[in-house]
Symmetry: C2
Subunit: 212 residues, 2 copies
DNA sequence: CTTTGTACTAACAAAATTGTTTAACCAAAT
DNA sequence: ATTTGGTTAAACAATTTTGTTAGTACAAAG
């Protein structure tokens, strides 16, 4: 009653913000609580006061991010009444935009799951069900469209992998390719537009039925 | 003259081996020198005796791995006298196989470059030249083949990104997708074969010229 | 047989990092 | 005014992790 939830004690918010940046950049063990505190402009005792331990602070961040990634993966699918091909195209574009808005989320989550596999079982079982259902639906729709001769048949799971690979990987390896493709990547905004178009083109061609 | 290079003092080798595993798994800051020593079956003083500091040991590993990744990226290109399309297809397959043989190399290098961008300038300038030349060659060949009506025109750099995205990302996110696609990924060997075929199919369709 | 240098161990020291405590401050409620 | 409780700073303590040192063993060279 007496707690002002809307402000959430500024300090707490600033620590969370700084922690997010620091953890995304350097990972759990690379991040330093003192650095997070500095970045937030508070003493590092404050960090422990609010979040007890580094580990607990990390939990706060990672679980939020995990959910975001769950959402990102599912953005591939849109439910709508347009033709399947159009919906897939839209899904690819939306998925790309979503990731462009959170460019280093995938790397962070991948790294975390790789280094601490044991944690995150619950997460997996949660999204596992959703993904199962969505992939099942998609496959049935593909089967129908392919049978009607509107597109080539494809394993929905492979298509799913194609899409997330194309959309995510450019961002993951951007620090590496940027200097290699200087000219192309110099105008970052322009590059992203071109890249999105290329990904859509690749997927659309993948779904084109082969002429007899 | 008096040093037996062939054996390289077993201990030293074992430390290097253990360090590679530990660093690949946990990254520079996640790895513990004591753990590396244990894993190698030596006292941890030995680690410092041979490699002075954790940082120097890490250098040894990372620079070796960076070169490997340079090679991996270049495997896309084969120089040969067959038609361009065939060469690209072969390149995709070889690239896939190369990565399948070093499945967690890309993630490691990407993470390292992301968290410590300042180091590795020299690396970049080195491979930058090679990539430039190869992409230039490839583009000219594509221009020719496309003009001759043998394939669709495509920006060589985008094609390059398509290929490495498809080939690498499956491995990077394997820990995540494995439980999601249980049935498909259960037989790991079979999955890899299917995935390679899918990647080749995607790229081949990408290069197919669109009917008028 | 002594010297010399490398490989090695165990204990120790130093540094870095996380976590705690004490006490002060301030606003609101009693 | 006084108490109460959340917030803060500064100093300190504990732990973890890295790095060093002093000394032993042993093999090869002189």
């Amino acid at each position: 009653m007496d707690k002002i939830d809307s402000a959430k004690s500024d300090t707490e918010q600033r620590i969370l913000q700084a922690a997010e940046e620091e953890f995304l950049q350097k990972g759990l063990e690379g991040a330093r609580t003192t650095t997070i505190a500095e970045r937030a402009g508070v003493t590092h005792a404050m960090l422990h006061y609010y979040f007890r331990t580094k580990g607990m602070l990390f939990e706060r961040i990672i679980s939020e991010k995990m959910q975001q990634v769950g959402n990102i993966m599912l953005t591939v699918f849109v439910s709508d009444d347009r033709p399947l091909i159009d919906r897939i195209k839209l899904g690819v574009e939306q998925h790309f935009d979503f990731i462009a808005a959170h460019p280093d989320l995938p790397r962070f989550v991948i790294q975390e799951i790789y280094t601490h596999p044991e944690r995150h079982e619950m997460m997996r079982s949660q999204i596992s069900g959703i993904v199962d259902r969505l992939l099942g639906d998609l496959q049935r729709q593909i089967d129908r469209s392919a049978a009607a001769g509107d597109m080539a048949w494809v394993d929905a799971r492979m298509l799913f992998l194609d899409i997330i690979s194309l959309n995510i990987f450019s961002f993951i390896c951007f620090p590496i390719i940027k200097p290699l493709l200087g000219e192309l990547t110099a105008d970052e905004k322009g590059f992203l537009e071109k890249r999105k178009a290329e990904n859509v083109a690749v997927i659309m061609k993948r779904l084109k039925r082969t002429e007899a």
